[in-house]
């Protein structure tokens, strides 16, 4: 156990380090000649040299890498790198704010969006997957899988816009104001408004995810239902309901947990399209805005954040699968 987890943790750390080095390489490409970009117009050669020295661009690359890790992807000011304590992600000059602070202020929105959606799509996928697996090829199965493949083929931005068109715009022309057009209300401020504002975004993500998850639940259920121990359970006279939900589902759950964890991590890195459509001021929107305005420290910060979520979730999923069934995960 400990050995297995240690190996995975070491691998995860190494991956993260590689991500850091790659982002460093990116900034070097970005600031092709940072001194010239930063210097005021008509700057003398002396000023340029001064900036080059201040940015330590005259030093060998491994020292530059160290500065990058220690000071962050910014170019001046206090040390704000990941290897500095407390770890930080640099400073955004455009927004005049530390990147870490900026990202932390957006996390509640993205977290509410991602976690809420996760609960909804997991529940629905499991219910629909089990329902479809009861009698494969039946009418129910076909309707469910048609619905799910449609969800799979519809891009998030199309579903999102159509949902807000029909459920917000069209409804409100009839005077029904169930859903707001967008925006975010904090959970601690008003839980009801919080859920009301997030309902359509949750639905958008659910439609996108359910296509994959329902299919996996169904396939695994069928797999398990065909196995010997289910036949034994049936022979013993265990009720069908218990067989489906107790015996089969439990075994079929592992792949869903793995997939769900990784998908959650991807969303935590920014449910970019959904946030954009519903005007949710989360991490994803921050990333898009920064990329479009050329705010590199923020873009790099969000990239590192997303990669970290991904690597950590891979690790956590591994621990959970291991605890559930030590033999299965070698």
């Amino acid at each position: 156990m400990a050995r297995h987890l240690f190996a995975h943790a070491a691998r995860a750390l190494l991956t993260l380090l590689a991500v850091l080095v790659l982002t460093f390489a990116l900034t070097r490409i970005a600031y092709r000649n940072p001194a010239a970009v930063l210097a005021p117009r008509n700057a003398t050669q002396e000023t340029l040299d001064g900036i080059t020295r201040a940015l330590r661009l005259d030093e060998p690359w491994y020292l530059q890498l160290w500065h990058y890790l220690y000071r962050g992807p910014d170019v001046q000011g206090a040390p704000m790198g990941l290897f500095h304590w407390p770890p930080a992600l640099g400073y955004s000059f455009r927004r005049q704010q530390p990147v870490t602070e900026l990202i932390l202020s957006k996390i509640p929105v993205t977290l509410s969006l991602a976690l809420g959606a996760l609960v909804i799509w997991m529940t629905l996928s499991i219910l629909l997957g089990v329902a479809a697996a009861r009698r494969p090829g039946s009418w129910t199965d076909r309707v469910i899988s048609t619905f799910c493949s449609a969800g799979l083929a519809a891009p998030t931005f199309v579903t999102g816009i159509l949902l807000s068109y029909f459920l917000y715009f069209t409804l409100s022309t009839y005077g029904v104001r169930w859903f707001p057009s967008g925006g975010y209300v904090g959970l601690t401020e008003d839980p009801v408004e919080w859920a009301r504002h997030l309902a359509l975004p949750w639905l958008t993500i659910t439609i996108a995810e359910i296509g994959v998850f329902q299919r996996v639940v169904r396939a695994n259920m069928l797999d398990v239902l065909g196995s010997d121990y289910i036949r034994t359970a049936r022979a013993k006279g265990v009720s069908e309901r218990r067989i489906h939900f107790d015996h089969a589902l439990r075994a079929a759950l592992n792949p869903i947990i793995t997939l769900g964890g990784l998908e959650l991590a991807a969303l935590m890195g920014g449910a970019i399209v959904t946030e954009q459509i519903f005007g949710l001021d989360g991490v994803g929107r921050l990333a898009v805005e920064s990329a479009l305005s050329g705010d590199f420290p923020v873009v790099i910060g969000t990239t590192i954040l997303a990669a970290t979520f991904f690597v950590i979730s891979g690790f956590v999923v591994d621990v959970i699968t291991y605890l559930r069934d030590p033999a299965a995960s070698r």
Binding site: F157, V273, A291, I300, A307
Partner: protein, 315 residues
């Protein structure tokens, strides 16, 4: 272990078919699948519209980027709905939505096909080496794949596109080319894992041992014996990966970092319809590219599931 989130096919079913002696029995079985046929019809429609886009432009006399402010906008400046001259109405700039949607099909294929092909070539090369040389080479390449997978697609794509800006603020390389490169930078991992899995199985087959015994060089073995066995399966999965990449282009264009206006892409058309809210008066402005996108992805997905049913029946 740390297997990726991709729903990757379990490979080994493929190469056995190629060994049968008959050329492509799997292909015939795939074509007999109902969902493959359904998908082929939809994809055929999309390819046809891409090819016929200039014809539609010539027939209507509306270029894809041409603005008809006098005819296609009302006096309040709102786009007209479908009529005899603008079959699907106009967009906010008085351009023909139908013609632009057809041209959008070209961009989708023009980005999706090269990106997927590039990913296939790179991924297959990596997978061949990783699968054939266990030990250090395999470990290094698999670690590289892990790293590539841990970069979030959209955020990284955003930063790469953001970096594509010279000192004067103009893009350094063509945005379309960049989108192709960015997409293939992520998609290769899928082919690498697939190929590696196939090669690991093949490596232990008698014919490989036999070839090694009679002194065939490893390079020749890899290129002449293993590659031909892997290629049909990989080529089939090219079609499975293509819709994901078409969707990726549309997503980037929707976010404003992909194909740039005025070039028509379904992604940037939908973005424009949403940004201006003009779809509320002219729904086809949004619906035409949205339906096109849906049909394309649905078609390729159907082909993909037909392929999976044959090559990977246990799923």
């Amino acid at each position: 272990m740390s297997s990726p989130p991709v729903l990757e096919p379990a490979g080994p079913a493929g190469p056995c078919d190629a060994e049968d002696g008959r050329r492509f029995p799997a292909l015939r079985a795939i074509l007999a699948e109902r969902s493959t046929r359904f998908g082929l019809v939809l994809v055929g429609l999309v390819v046809l519209s891409a090819l016929l886009a200039p014809v539609a432009a010539a027939l209507t006399g509306h270029g894809p980027d041409q603005q008809f402010r006098a005819e296609a906008l009302t006096t309040e400046g709102l786009p007209v709905g479908p009529n005899a001259e603008f079959l699907l109405g106009a967009d906010g700039n008085g351009r023909d939505v139908l013609v632009r949607t057809l041209y959008g099909a070209r961009i989708s294929l023009l980005v999706g096909i090269p990106a997927t092909t590039l990913a296939l070539v790179a991924g297959t090369a990596v997978g061949l080496v990783a699968g054939f040389f266990p030990g250090a080479a395999d470990r290094v390449l698999s670690f590289g794949t892990d790293i590539a997978l841990s970069f979030p697609f959209v955020v990284t794509a955003l930063s790469l596109v953001a970096l594509n800006r010279g000192a004067d603020g103009r893009p350094v390389i063509d945005p379309v080319l960049l989108v192709i490169l960015v997409i293939s930078l992520f998609a290769w991992t899928y082919f690498a894992r697939l190929t590696r899995g196939l090669v690991v199985v093949l490596r232990n087959r008698p014919f490989v041992e036999a070839a090694l015994t009679i002194g065939v060089s490893r390079r020749r073995l890899l290129v002449r014996e293993i590659l031909p066995n892997v290629l049909p399966v990989v080529a089939v999965y090219w079609a499975v990966q293509l819709p994901a990449n078409i969707l990726a282009e549309a997503t980037l264009s929707f976010l404003g970092v992909g194909v740039q206006a005025p070039t028509a892409s379904w992604g940037n058309m939908i973005a424009e319809a949403q940004r201006t809210s003009l779809y509320q008066v002219q729904p086809w402005f949004l619906l035409a590219p949205a339906i096109a996108m849906f049909v394309t992805v649905l078609g390729f997905n159907a082909i993909g599931s037909g392929i999976r049913n044959v090559l990977d029946p246990q799923r």
